[in-house]
């Protein structure tokens, strides 16, 4: 394998209100109350990218719709009011994390505007502040060597994309402005597995603060990968640590495959001039058979094409599982022109385009059997932008691998998101005053951070196993476990731990949506067991029902799975009268058989110990009555 260099950027949402306003950092379940339309003003001279012109055109036409909530978001998120003072609690948490990573906190914290014109921030920039810088002591130690921490920044979370269309993007503003810490490592990581280890270790330190958000999407990794002979890539948004090594090795494969394609291009003697043209082929494709091509043209679309001489077979070449060079081209067309996709010669005949039509297209483009072409169906203006970006990308294949910002997909593949930004355009956020770190550091004098190891040790001292303790920590249930343990007087800590971890895991695997259950309901359930109002055996059923209806009353659900004293006594009476003869014959030795019968009928509704003592009592009474 070629030498790789990997750096990580870990983004973690903090558990406090938003960074520059007092809105809660809460994601909304419902639809926004209202949508506000904005366009981004970007000047040509400020856009550094591989195709500024196309990008510029696109941005100027694109409408951004922002979904606001009358309760939950305010003027600040919509950029209708300047930011308020930086959230002090967020600064404090960030400084604590920096301390835990042995970083050097800057004296005066300056908020910057990092220009982002994709609409994900209503302002057109992301507010971000450098909190701390790594030095020789700021290390994550791994089996494969130390990885240095470079920087720790505190920044705003972007808005959530609700919908994307050809000329608009809809964002919801509930997520915008949630405080994030961004921890960046140097590119010291040398293998996919080491990257995962670093991510997990940093993640654990973050969780140890107890001040970070939990759940899906609250932590995500960006991965910078560069490969000898290839190009640096910035891969955004890997949410699962398990995906990190897959994403990295697939990125390596992709670059190697692109390099192979490059070699073949050079072998075939393809030059930049072999890619180009712009042909209107609407009249040809009007004759396509049934399919989406025909449908698009019948509903007013036009078809345009460029040629790619001597490229036959290369556009359809697989570069990642299920993704071809053609897929990369399609991503460019989507990003720059907002089209749904492209059609390339290596996938034809298909989509109602017969081999006769393919031949006719070739004739019109004045190309032969060994040449390729790319088609776009849209209006002329969009097609121009789309095919220009496709041609630019295809020409880059002659050079090798372009530097890109890519998005991680769920299967570990990546797709083109935007060209790699030049050095970020950052300028001071003049609406926010600098913050001195000294008062924070002063207040933290004598503060002893609790590291993951400390917390796991503390959990073990509750009398649970180390495995359970680690599981509680990793699943971010420390607080829940400790709260439950302090409330429950009788219940064993081991039972609490296994309910919160292994039972949840087992149920989740069965598809039960346990994550929907509010923590208070879990605690209430366990407290009922603690007070003898619910059998341990019934807990699983109660949790299943709660997952179905998270707002249900726990007591009501518990009633379904518990039995009153009278009911139990009656049940015991019934069993005894049914088995009177055996009882008379065997005396107290009949207990286990009777217990078995009773328990079959109780079905977890009463604690076994209670059943057994009741049953013994009853047997005694029965026998003594008999002997009277």
């Amino acid at each position: 394998m070629k030498e790789i260099k990997v750096g990580l950027e870990i983004h973690q949402r903090l558990r406090t209100h938003k960074l520059f306003c007092n809105c809660p950092s809460t994601l909304m379940e419902m639809e926004p109350d209202c949508w506000i339309m904005r366009m981004m003003g970007v000047s040509r001279s400020e856009l550094g990218s591989i195709d500024p012109a196309a990008r510029f055109e696109l941005l100027r036409q694109r409408k951004f719709l922002y979904g606001i909530y009358f309760d939950g978001t305010c003027e600040v998120e919509l950029d209708e009011s300047p930011p308020l003072e930086m959230n002090k609690e967020a600064v404090e948490i960030a400084i604590k994390i920096a301390k835990m990573l042995n970083m050097d906190v800057v004296d005066e914290i300056h908020t910057m505007r990092k220009i982002v014109v994709d609409g994900s921030n209503t302002t057109g920039f992301q507010r971000t502040a450098l909190i701390a810088i790594g030095d020789e002591k700021s290390m994550i130690r791994t089996d494969q060597g130390d990885v240095r921490i470079a920087t720790l920044c505190l920044e705003e979370e972007s808005a959530f994309i609700a919908e994307t269309g050809p000329d608009f993007v809809k964002y919801r503003l509930d997520r915008l402005g949630i405080p994030l810490v961004e921890i960046a490592t140097y590119p010291d990581i040398k293998s996919p597995e080491q990257a995962k280890e670093v991510a997990l270790k940093i993640g654990r330190i973050l969780r140890a603060t107890g001040k970070v958000m939990r759940g899906i999407g609250t932590i995500r990794q960006d991965i910078n990968v560069s490969i000898e002979g290839g190009a640096r890539q910035e891969i955004k948004g890997v949410q699962e640590p398990d995906l990190i090594p897959i994403v990295i090795s697939r990125e390596v494969d992709r670059q190697l495959n692109l390099l192979k394609i490059r070699d073949e291009i050079l072998e075939r003697g393809i030059t930049e001039e072999d890619i180009g043209g712009f042909f209107d082929l609407t009249d040809v494709l009007k004759r396509a058979e049934k399919g989406f091509v025909r449908k698009a043209i019948d509903s007013g679309g036009s078809a345009f094409a460029i040629y790619a001489r001597k490229m036959k077979g290369l556009i359809g070449r697989e570069i990642q599982p299920g993704r071809r060079l053609g897929t990369e081209l399609a991503s460019y067309a989507k990003v720059f022109a907002g089209v749904k996709g492209i059609i390339h010669s290596d996938e034809l005949p298909n989509y109602g385009i017969s081999s006769d039509l393919v031949a006719e297209i070739r004739k019109r483009l004045e190309i032969g059997e060994e040449d390729g072409f790319i088609l776009v169906i849209s209006d002329r203006r969009t097609a121009e932008i789309a095919l220009k970006s496709v041609a630019d990308r295809l020409r880059y294949a002659i050079k090798g691998v372009p530097e890109e910002t890519r998005r991680a997909l769920e299967d570990g593949n990546t797709e083109f998101m935007r060209p790699m930004p030049g050095s970020a355009r950052m300028y001071p956020e003049t609406d926010v005053l600098p913050v001195l770190s000294y008062p924070f550091l002063k207040a933290l004098e004598g503060w002893k951070p609790e590291f993951p190891e400390d917390i796991i040790g503390r959990l073990v001292s509750y009398g649970i196993s180390r495995d359970q303790a680690e599981e509680i920590f990793d699943e971010e249930k420390v607080e829940l476990f400790e709260r439950t343990s302090s409330l429950c007087k009788n219940l064993s800590r081991g039972f609490i731990a296994s309910t919160l971890t292994s039972m949840m895991k087992y149920l989740r695997r069965e598809g039960v949506k346990v994550e929907l259950i509010p923590e208070d309901k879990l605690i209430e359930t366990l407290l009922m067991v603690d007070q003898g109002a619910l059998a341990k055996e019934a807990v699983e059923n109660v949790i299943r029902d709660l997952a179905e209806d998270p707002n249900a009353d726990v007591k009501e659900i518990a009633r379904r799975y518990s039995m009153s004293q009278e009911e139990l006594e009656k049940l015991i009476d019934d069993v005894i009268s049914l088995h009177k003869d055996e009882l008379m014959r065997a005396g107290e030795k009949a207990f286990s058989m009777l217990m078995g019968e009773v328990m079959k009928k109780v079905r977890g509704k009463v604690d076994g110990r209670i059943v057994s003592s009741k049953l013994r009592e009853r047997i005694k009474k029965e026998i003594s009555q008999k002997s009277l």
């Binding site: 366009m39 000047s43 004296d107 450098l130 355009r425």
Partner: protein, 443 residues
Amino acid sequence: MPLSYAGKAYALLERYNVEDYDLVKIITEKGEIVGRIMPRPSIFDDEHVIIKLPNGYNIGVNIGKISEIKVLEKAYQREEAIPEVEFRENLPYIPFIVTGGTISSRVDYRTGAVRAYEKPEELLDLIPELADIANIKYKPIFAEFSENLTPSHWKKMAERASEELNSGARGVVIAHGTDTMHYSAAALSFMLMNLRKPVVFVGSQRSIDRPSTDAVLNLIAAVKVAAQSDIGEVVITMHGSPSDEFAWVLRGVKARKMHTSRRDAFIPVNSPPIAKVTREKIEIMSKYRKADESSRVEFDGRIDERVFLLYTWPGMSPDIIESIRSLGYRGLVIAGTGLGHTPSRIIPSIERLVRDGVPVVMTSQTIFGRVNLRVYETGRLLLKAGVIPGEDMLPEVALVKLMFVLGHCNEMECIREMMLRNIAGEISSSISMRDFPPCWVMR
């Protein structure tokens, strides 16, 4: 490059011959920091030096920790080449009178410094649409935040606008800070006599260097109104909603900044918007004075600044009225309560003021609606005291108008007559049920 630091930080940087934007290596107790020295706003303390790191972030380094600074590279001025814009024969000429404010400055991305636009080309780089609407010429006359403007600035603006309009401009656009835009717009409404061409005030609530700036739509709308409309009045053209969809054209004497920060902060008061402008078209919404291209405007800058605007409050004492007189003010505008009332206890002082020849004009803190001094006892007493009812004029407009009127006459009767006469649309003959915010939803 100069050095923008003060006090202790200045002394330190000076010692090492450092100037703003120099690339330096700072040696501290903890190690070295390489970066560019950034200017430090004067209101910040003098104990930190701002460094722009290679990753783009600024940080402040405490000077107490700095043991040495080495200059690695002196700053250099970089000229940006911006293509010139050609004059287009078929498009009207619109001077762009720049007075300062958010609308006319931008941040330099390299340095982070704020600087004013110098050429229309810079604006056209951001808003290429403007080149298709008009031939724009930059006419900077001063660069002030609007809170610092004075009546003499109003005169300068009016004089410049009249010169331009009388020498071939189809209309003018005035880029202005938003804080006091409605004062300036009112002033020009009075000072530009016989105006029959569009004079369009425009500003922005989000600075033009932000991608989310409202200036793009505002400027397109303003230039459109100046170049294409037949509105012969002084107007304010600003966002009509939080969306980048349309701008209102508001009569200069009937608009007010009603929100500290929203894009749609300017609201028509007691009068409908004149028009609604989108990127595509101008849609007329109410009556206005029609433009006449052959007309000549007359600049009348006679004005007396000695007018006081008083916001009354419950329990205020009459001594304030007394001191207004002793401070030498020649006129008083009161923003009273409700229909135009003041605490009864100050009425005798008002009466003395009027008797001494100081006109007193009543407007209302309610902003919306017309004063009426005939309904309640207090109002009648105020009328009897000689107070001039300001009809439905905004307090700020009444202030500007009284300054203008005092520049034209001294006699109380003349002053009263002019104040009660509608000169530039500042007094509505009737107020529609539609013209009050809660009713806007009916639109």
